[in-house]
């Protein structure tokens, strides 16, 4: 009984370690191929559109809702000790340092990460990836590198957009709905948010973008077992990249104090 349990734990741990190793090798190869010819510029642009432009609606919705709720909630709390004037600072600091990049990361993981894994997974199980090899084309370069780059670059811009829109949403609620003085609100926001807060947030977003691209591609590229496998890869891509985003968020926050 105990032996069985230990064996199970051992096997699970080994499988996890093996998978981590495989992910690290995959990342290493992706970085290596990123800087070697040929460059598939057309694929990159197409992916930037698919991952970036098409994610704008969800990112906008999430950001504006978060900014508005944040203003509303902090107002309720801060009023209790008469610090309502600070909500501008709370909203802009939270949006830039934390919520802009993290929520954008999670939304893009759900949307673009999933679709990457599903697309590459389908290509794997229908032998399209093998077909690329037989046509003397490296699928890591042709498929993975453009997605990795597009995801990293576009996450940066989407996060910047998320920060901006979230702050606007907070401003709207704080000033128009709750009646805070607009000048006080703006001053609080601007005086308490530095350029480096914004950069911290944007650096995080680059890391999250790389995570979404790499995990989405890794899961898709290593799909096995038909349609069911594609489903598993897709779910796996979303779960793993969301967890990694949340875990890395803590360490990046600690590092970029």
């Amino acid at each position: 009984m105990i032996n069985k349990l230990l064996e199970l734990i051992g096997n699970k741990t080994m499988a996890l370690l093996r998978e981590m190793g495989a992910v690290i090798i995959f990342c290493g190869q992706t970085f290596r191929w990123t800087f070697s010819r040929p460059f598939y510029l057309k694929n990159l642009l197409k992916q930037m559109e698919q991952i970036g432009v098409n994610s704008v609606p969800v990112v906008l919705t999430t950001a504006i809702s978060t900014g508005m709720v944040l203003a509303l909630q902090s107002y309720t709390g801060f009023k209790r000790f008469g610090a309502q004037s600070l909500i501008g600072a709370v909203v802009s600091l939270s949006m830039t340092r934390e919520l802009g990049p993290v929520l954008t990361g999670l939304m893009v993981a759900g949307r673009a990460g999933a679709s990457m894994a599903a697309e590459l997974g389908t290509m794997r199980v229908t032998e399209q990836i093998d077909a690329l090899y037989t046509l003397a084309t490296n699928p890591m370069k042709y498929l993975v590198v453009p997605r990795f780059l597009a995801s990293t670059i576009m996450m940066f811009f989407l996060s910047a957009l998320g920060m901006y829109i979230g702050i606007l949403g907070g401003y709207f609620v704080g000033v128009k709905v709750l009646g805070t003085n607009p000048t006080t609100y703006m001053n609080q926001s601007i005086n308490n948010t530095t350029m480096s807060d914004i950069w911290y947030g944007l650096i995080k977003s680059l890391v999250f973008g790389a995570v979404v691209g790499l995990i989405g591609c890794y899961k898709g590229f290593n799909t096995e077992g038909g349609a069911e496998g594609v489903g598993k890869a897709t779910t796996g891509a979303v779960v793993v990249s969301c967890m990694l985003i949340l875990i890395l968020d803590y360490f990046l926050s600690a590092l970029l104090w």
Binding site: M123, T126, E127, Q128, D130, A131, Y133, L135, A136
Partner: protein
């Protein structure tokens, strides 16, 4: 002269040993068909020939070069000698028919899109298709997909064509049209070809020689007539499609 030489090829996945010492030689210009049951390792075997899989032991030699020893560039040079038709055609579903057929030309030549389209039209005509250049693969029937896959396989004028179950999943008439096409292409292009199939009708029709893969080894190799008159009980059972004999369904 041997175009493909497979020596003592062994390959397993985890604890599952699929190939246990395959030996097979395909002469230049010859049409070789490997027959065997589902899951017997036919696809694994053919994937070794074009360097999609690599042996655990043994070696695969193509046109005098051992694939295991090649780096990425060397391997790609060898792969350019091949065209491969996949079982499900494996067309790129984000690209149109002509972009699929012209994929290799686009990647490896300096031809303009206009020139590539012209070649594409010509290759599509060879496989009996007209006016489908701008369709997406999802708009094609199974038989048409195979034809487009075949057009893509021959687009770069390969010396060797590999067919992974070219007739599986097609109705008998479409299947026979594909058989005719394979025979026809071979006459016109004079290529070496390796097909794998469990369709005996197809095997007899398209092959100069047939080899049977069973339990990870080649059981017998011979001309279609020799295979028809075989005394090997395993081969006999397989070609007559009998449930009674040394092979058991699992």
């Amino acid at each position: 002269m041997a175009m493909i030489e497979i020596t003592n090829l062994c390959k397993g996945f985890g604890s599952h040993q699929v190939l246990r010492g395959v030996n097979l030689t395909v002469e230049k210009g010859e049409s070789m068909t490997v027959i065997g049951g589902s899951g017997s390792g036919k696809s694994v075997l053919i994937k070794h020939i074009i360097g999609l899989l690599f042996p655990d032991r043994g070696e695969v030699k193509v046109d005098g070069e051992v694939l295991n020893n090649l780096d990425e560039r060397g391997l790609n040079d060898v792969r350019k000698k091949f065209g491969m038709l996949f079982q499900g055609a494996a067309l790129f579903d984000s690209l149109t028919v002509w972009e699929n057929v012209g994929f290799g030309l686009k990647q490896h030549t300096k031809m303009s899109d206009k020139e590539i389209r012209d070649v594409t039209t010509q290759k599509l005509a060879l496989v009996g298709l007209k006016g489908v250049e701008d369709k997406m693969p999802s708009d094609l029937s199974g038989g048409m997909k195979k034809r487009v896959g075949l057009a893509r396989a021959i687009a770069m004028d390969p010396q060797i064509i590999l067919y992974d179950e070219p007739t599986t999943g097609l109705d008998p008439i479409t299947a026979d049209a594909i058989n005719d096409l394979i025979v026809d292409l071979r006459k016109k292009l004079g290529v070496t070809s390796v097909a794998i199939t469990h369709d005996m009708f197809s095997a007899y029709k398209i092959s100069d020689r047939i080899a049977m893969l069973y339990k990870g080894e080649i059981q017998e190799t011979g001309t279609p007539d020799e295979i028809r008159g075989t005394s090997n009980p395993i081969v006999k059972q397989f070609i007559t499609g009998s449930a009674v004999g040394p092979i058991t369904a699992d």
